[in-house]
Every structure is written in C-alpha cells, then in structure tokens.
C-alpha cells in the first residue's frame, strides 16, 4: 500500500502532472488487475460487492464469537464513519463524540425496558430509534454551538468536558432513572413489524445494512454541496465564509450528522447487549474510535471502515495468546522481509539468528542448568520448535523484565545505527525479542495485548502518517 513518493507533499510542487503517467502504469500482476477492474465499475457496485462478501462471513463460520467480533467491528466502523464527518471532513476535533453513542444506547434503553414508569416503556424499535436519533441530532446541534466561537484544541477540550459530563450524569445524577453505575438492564431486542432480532447473526446483518447505507449516504453527501462545504470549512474557515459558505451552520450540521450516526450505533448496541452501562462510553473507547478513523485515513469513507476493522480485529486477535504469537512473530518476519535487502543479507541475518540462538542456549545451559530449565510459554508447535533454541529460565520473571527493558533500549540504538553495525545488532535483538515474548509477554497475555496495541499504533502511524487509505495532505499552520 505504499505510494511511490514517500515524501510529504509540498505546496506548489507540481508533481501531479509529472506523475500521472506513473500512476496510470503502476503495478502489474493480479493486484493491479483487481484495481483496474474495480476502477471500471461505479462506486455503488463496488460497495455492493464488498457488502456481499462481508455478508457471506456469518455463513462461513459456525462460531458465534467470530460473528460477535464482526458485530463489534461493524459498530466501531459505524462510529468511525460518523466521527469522520466531524473530524475528517469538517476538521473539528470532537472529543465528546462517544457521548452520543452512549446517548443513543441510554435513549433506546429507557424507551425499551422496564426502567421508567411502573410497567416500563416498550416502544416499537423503529419508533424508538427514530426518536433517539432525532434527539441526538438536536443535541449535536446544541453541543456544536461552542464551535461557533472555539477553534482547534480549545474546541477539543470543551467537547471533552461534554463527554465527561455525560458519563458523570448517567452515573451520578438521578440513579433511579439511569440505574447509576449498574446501568439499565433488560432491554428489549430490536423488533421490526413483529419480527424480533435475537441472534448475533441477526444483529450482524442489521448492522451490515446500516453500515452500508451510511457509507452510501456519506459518499453521496461527500460529493455534494454539503460535503464540499464541510471540507472547505476544514481547509480554511475564513475563505469558506467569503465564498458564500455559512461556516457556523455547516459546522453544526456536521456535529449533528456525526451525533445522529453515533446515536444510531448506540441504539443497536444497547439492543444487542440488552443493557446500557456508563463505563462502556468512557474515554478509552473514544480513543479506539479515533484510532480507527486516523489509522484508516482521516477523510476517507472506506478508510474509516478499514481502520475500525483493523483496530477491532487486531484487538481480538491479540486476546488469544496463540494468535498473538503468530501476529508477533509474523510481524517481525514481515518487517525483516520488507526492510532487510538484498535477499542475501536477509538470509545471512536469519541464519545467524538461528545459530546465535543455539549457541546461546548451549553456553548458558552449560553454565547453569536452571537457567534453561523452563519451557517456552507459547504453546503448540511454536513452543516446541523454539524449545531448545530460546533460553527460558526456571523462574523467568526477573530476567524477562530486564530483557524487556534491554530490548527497548536496543531498538532505540538500532534506529541510531547505520550500515553493518545495524545488521550485526539486529541478530541479538531479534533473539532478545523472542526471549522476552516467551518469558514474559505470553504469560501476561492481557497486558501484552495493550502493549502491542500501543506499539502497532506507533509503528503504523510512522509507516503511513496519512492512514491506510487516506490521501496525503498539506497542512497550512
């Protein structure tokens, strides 16, 4: 996915025309053929094809868990789509976004449970969703009002307050109504005209339809007057105003659309989980939505969906230690293949690595038997394969911790070094990485998951600052 020109674009450098031929001729082989085939059809055909592929997914797996991860992914994707309107297109840093998700969930919860009144309120889902989404859109308008006066990071902080206020309010104010920290439970499932959605697969398809419809709608908006207005406001609010665009109105509209999309996702989430709890709508979740939008490429519809997918699926893969191991070793190998050129050098490094491992294992084993008494923590064939290669002490915690710190320092040194020294250092570092993984990281699977998520974010953004599908942008400060 790398572009030929990795330098950031600069104003006034007319590389566009010069590179048009290159763009046209780029790539050969199957991937380029697919690209060309897709270019020939319209956007909605593409969307339909992708939707159809995704729709097959629940049929291919028998696991409810996989489908549930799909549901979570689609929820995150929908949220990312809404946030993309506010952040990616209109350029408003909204840190209170996830409150609308919560608002949607709580709104639906109150209108579809026994929470209010003596026998509760149980509206038909469609009605409840419409009420909640419209209310959220209005609330979005209201909370967008500060954007008339505040810009950039100042707007960010005020919206952050709104997000916090939402969590505080549902937790502390009127716990009789919102259930306080225990939330609202016993929410009705979605029902449309007498048809109840009760299975995970059912929710998957409901969400798939919602996501695809939103993607289509946003695509049409993006290429319409409204979309151009949003992006013009992002690029230069003052110039936009002088080009007949009512900046404040356009900003409020963006807030409102974002809020409505988030609330829609919230209603489905509440029905799916059959409960709404305050801790689900706190800042850590907001961070994930942002990560999705920006990782995918701020400003791109497909990017928002892809980014959310990457975030959600990566987090799930990391939940399972054996998959995490595959990801860990796989990523290291992939990085090596991409970064170490030519092939001969790569071969040398790998050979040296194997030899280094056996040598270290032999030497340390000769000095102290207990230092190699442990077994690699990775189970399955990986663990067996590494058994006599990587050193695992009987009590690996202390050495593992030290190695972890040394590994980080080593990586720091690696970036500083150039040439042969770099290649030479690479071998012990790779070994150290395996050592740390087998001694500490697998044992603390849950913590490792978070550490790797952090590392992946850092590496991904460094590798591709504009996001996976984003286009390179010029920023005028």
């Amino acid at each position: 996915m790398s572009t030929p020109n990795d330098a950031p674009p600069r104003i006034g450098v007319d590389e566009w025309v010069a590179r048009s031929g290159e763009r046209r001729d780029r790539g050969s082989g199957p991937s380029a053929a697919i690209v060309r085939a897709l270019e020939r059809v319209g956007w909605w055909q593409r969307l339909a094809v992708i939707a159809a592929i995704v729709a097959l997914f629940p049929l291919l797996t028998s696991s409810d868990y996989a489908v549930r991860v799909g549901v979570n992914t689609l929820l995150l994707a929908t949220l990312a789509l809404g946030l993309n309107v506010v952040v990616g297109w209109t350029g408003l840093l909204d840190l209170g976004y996830v409150a609308f998700y919560g608002f949607g969930a709580y709104g639906f919860a109150l209108l579809s449970s026994n929470q209010l009144g003596s026998s509760g309120i149980h509206l038909p889902s469609l009605l409840a969703i419409v009420i909640v989404v419209v209310a959220a859109a209005l609330l979005g308008l209201l909370l967008g009002l500060p954007s008339r006066r505040l810009q950039g990071d100042y707007l960010a902080i005020v919206t952050l307050f709104f997000g916090q206020i939402f969590v505080e309010t549902v937790t502390n104010v009127a716990p009789k109504v919102t259930g306080g920290p225990n939330g609202v439970v016993g929410i009705d499932p979605l029902n449309f005209f007498g048809l109840e959605v009760t299975t995970t697969r059912g929710y998957f398809y409901v969400l798939l339809i919602v996501t695809v419809v939103i993607m289509g709608a946003l695509h049409l908006i993006d290429s319409s007057r409204t979309g151009r207005g949003w992006r013009a406001v992002r690029e230069d609010p003052l110039a936009a105003a002088l080009m007949t665009i009512p900046v404040n109105k356009v900003k409020l509209l963006a807030f409102s659309v974002g809020a409505a999309v988030a609330a829609l996702a919230g209603t489905i989430f509440a029905a799916f989980q059959a409960g709404a709890y305050p801790t689900d709508f706190d800042t850590p979740f907001l961070i994930l939505v942002y990560a999705g939008v920006i990782l995918g490429g701020s400003g791109s519809i497909a990017g928002a969906v892809l980014g959310a997918t990457v975030v959600s699926v990566t987090l799930e893969l990391l939940r399972n230690p054996s998959q995490a191991a595959t990801l860990f070793y796989g990523l290291i190998l992939l990085t090596l293949v991409v970064r170490v050129r030519p092939w001969r050098k790569l071969g040398a490094v790998l050979a040296a690595l194997v030899a280094f491992g056996f040598a270290v294992h032999a030497v340390i084993g000769a000095i102290s038997a207990s230092a190699v008494a442990g077994h690699p923590r990775s189970g399955g064939w990986v663990g067996d394969a590494l058994g006599s290669w990587v050193v695992v002490p009987a009590d690996p915690k202390g050495p593992g911790n030290i190695a972890f710190v040394v590994l980080i320092l080593g990586l720091v040194a690696l970036v500083q070094l150039k040439g042969t020294a770099r290649t030479v250092l690479l071998v012990p570092l790779l070994y150290l990485a395996a050592f740390v993984w087998e001694t500490r990281l697998v044992a603390e699977a849950s913590i490792t998951r978070q550490i790797l998520l952090g590392a992946i974010l850092i590496v991904m953004m460094n590798a591709r600052p504009q996001g996976l599908l984003g286009s390179k942008r010029v920023e005028v400060l």
Binding site: P181, A274, R377, S471
Partner: protein, 409 residues
C-alpha cells in the same frame, strides 16, 4: 477523498475490498481456532506444574479442562484484576500439582466494562475446552453476561460481584458467588456501628462504583432507622486527594463509612484525616480489606473472611503468593476460592467417570460442599447461587497497622 482522483479512488476501494476479505478470514480464524485457543495460554497456568500432570490420580487419565477468568487485568482498576488473576493462576497451579489434574487458565481482560465482558464471554463460550468462568469482577458485568452464560450452561463463580439484585429471582441461574451479598455486609456493619461505636452522626462516602453505591444504599437506611444523622458524600474513583471531603467532617461525626473498592484510597483518606487532625473513625468495607495497604490506625474494616494471613492453614499459601506476586489485599483470596470451586467441580465430574461438559460441571458447582476454604469457612451455595451461612468479621486496625478481629456486637 479530497482530491477527486478516480484512479486513487479505485485503488482505495480495492484496498477496502482486500481488507474486507482479510477481515473475513481473520474472523474465521478467530472462530475456527477458538477450539484450540486454550493451548496458547494453557501453559501459563500449569507452567509451575510440569510434573504434576503426569502423576494423574483420577483413573489413570489426567482430568483436562480449561477455566476462563474474567477480570479487569488492565485498565483503570488493574490493581483489583491483577490480584484476582494471580490468585486464580496460583490456585490452579497448586490444584494441578496436588490432584494430578491438568486445568489451564484462559485470560479474559474486561477492563471492568460490560461491553468487553460480553465479548470475552462469547469467546469463552466458543472455546469448548472452557468448562467454567471464574469471575466476572463487577456486578454490572454479571448482569451483562448473565443471559449469555445461562444459555451456554456456563457456570460463573465470582469472588467480588456482591450486588443484591444479581441473585434476586434467579435471573442468572449459572451465577454463583463465594462472597456474601451486599445486604449481609451492610446489616453486619450497620449493626456494629449502631451498637458498639454509637456515633451521633455518620458520613458515608461512596466511590461512584457499582460495588460502592450498592453498599452505601443498603447501609444508609439502617443507620437512619437507628436515629443516626447521615451525611452522604461521593467521590470519583479516580480521585487521589480527599482533603476537601475530609474538611467537611464535623466534630459530631463519629464514623466515616467508606465502602470503597481501592484499599489505598481508603489509606489516603485516613492520611487526610490525621493530617487535618479530625477525630472521626473510619469504618471501611471488604473492598479496603488489605493489611499491606490500608493500615490507618484505629480504623475498622469488615471482611467476609477472617484474615487469611492469620489462618494457620493459609499462612504458607499467603507466604508463597506474596513471594511470587507481591503484596495483596482483599480481591485475591475469594478468587482463589472461586478457582478451587471450579476445579473441584470439574475434577468431581472426571472422578465419576464422565467427560466434563458445561452442564455436568454446572450441576457439580451447584452441589459444591467444601468443608473449608481459603476463606476459613465452608462453601455451599443456596438455590440462588449465594453463599450459605455467609458471615462477616470486623477487624480493628492497630497502631502498627495490624488487623485484629473484634467480637461482633
């Protein structure tokens, strides 16, 4: 999609298509490999018992199964979850070693959010090696995953979800807890405060968590009935300085009731009290029961178990855990007990010659009858999943920070 270049447009869509396919495969991998997903973390539980597994005692073949733990292992309350994880891991390691079983532990980090707890539970359900869940930690998580676990016949044995509503009306038939419900502790504490401490005024400070507000709501009416004036305050769980709340304590306030989740916060509250020279006595609940961390002299702590470090049979165990994982408080021991309940149930199924299934493990958990436990009391469950004969002990913190049990009123 700023520069409307149809070509780059197509490329992005192609990438989206490719990644959607990738996602499908990824998810399929999630699903298909969940059957053996235990293998990854299996070793983490029985790493300490490599030899244990071979000395099988139950009919020649080792009893093999996985147990899932749901706890906030990372995130804002990792203090609690870490301890829960360590005790569970330790319990299973020991159990395997003693009984020749081969029970592995699968970690499920929920960060104390119901949304994540639901996903983790679904993952556990998909993993057909998992026979029981230890946890989840929070009452709101239990209500979120209760229906899922019930449908899957999956027993969940919590050591910290104490909200009374969870076992009312048998909503979650597969839910059990080895700790008494709020009502028991609330009645016990209120009784002691009213009859022994006899304050004119009590300040209740909750920490806005599910655990805390539940206890506070149960204690408040009892105190009021006894004619005690109650001042209810509340602090955010993430707060670290309580001086402002402490400054609101009047000389008439005899007792400050702290149903808090985090022992070190109670300790900080005690510091702020003595810093401002206030004379009120702290009465904390089991969330603060942690001899290493909450040692405000003169304070009272209630707990569902006598000090496990004071039980002679537990002393060795406490020492080992401390050596392996560092100091601990109130959240670990019940998880040890939960893990043992789960392990015993699976082992019992194996001993009876059956292959463990969720249904027969669940039935066995329901029949649990342990004469003793790490908590120093027998463990049996009533029809709703609550502990039978739950008792609470009250401790006074001495000048040296040591806990000593006081006779109940």
């Amino acid at each position: 999609m700023n520069a409307r270049d149809p070509r780059s447009h197509g490329r992005r869509w192609a990438a989206a298509a490719a990644s959607a396919t990738l996602l499908a495969f990824g998810l399929a991998a999630c699903g298909s490999s969940s059957g053996n997903s235990g293998s990854g973390s299996q070793t983490s539980a029985n790493a300490g018992s490599q030899t244990g597994a071979s000395t099988g005692s139950s009919g020649g073949k080792a009893c093999t199964a996985a147990i899932g733990i749901e706890a906030p292992i990372t995130g804002q309350v990792a203090q609690l979850g870490g301890e829960q994880l360590h005790f569970t891991q330790f319990a299973l390691d020991q159990y395997n070693q003693k009984n020749g079983t081969s029970f592995s532990l699968v970690q499920g980090d929920t960060q104390l959010t119901p949304a994540q707890a639901t996903t983790v539970t679904q993952q556990f359900i998909s993993n057909d090696k998992i026979m029981a869940i230890v946890g989840p930690a929070g009452s709101q998580e239990v209500s979120a995953i209760g229906p899922l676990a019930s449908r899957a016949n999956l027993a969940m044995i919590s050591g910290s979800a104490t909200a009374a509503a969870l076992t009312d009306g048998g909503k979650y038939p597969t839910f059990f807890r080895v700790v008494p419900r709020d009502a028991v502790q609330a009645a016990n504490d209120a009784d002691y405060i009213i009859k022994t401490l006899r304050p004119k005024q009590v300040m209740i400070v909750d920490d806005q968590s599910s655990y805390s507000t539940g206890l506070a709501a149960a204690v408040e009416p009892l105190l009021k009935q006894a004619g005690i004036q109650v001042d209810h305050e509340s602090v955010n769980q993430k707060q670290t300085d309580f001086s402002s709340v402490v400054s609101k304590i009047t000389p008439e306030t005899g007792v400050v009731f702290l149903p808090w989740q985090v022992a070190t916060s109670s300790q900080q509250f005690g510091q702020n009290l003595s810093e401002q020279g206030k004379k009120a006595v702290i009465f904390a609940t089991d969330g603060s029961y942690s001899p290493g961390q909450f040692r405000s002299p003169g304070a009272y702590v209630s707990s569902f178990a006598p000090d496990i470090t004071a039980i002679p049979e537990d002393a060795d165990l406490a020492r080992q855990i401390k050596a392996r994982y560092g100091s601990f408080g109130t959240y670990g021991p019940p998880y040890y007990a939960s893990a043992i309940v789960a392990a015993d149930a699976i082992d019992a199924v194996c001993r009876s010659g059956q292959t463990p299934t969720r249904a027969n493990v669940l039935a066995q958990v329901r029949k649990t009858s342990a004469a003793t436990s790490i908590l120093g009391q027998p463990i049996r469950f009533d029809a709703k999943g609550d502990l039978v004969d739950a008792k609470f002990s009250i401790f006074k913190v001495g000048p040296d920070g040591r806990y000593s049990a006081v006779p109940s009123a």
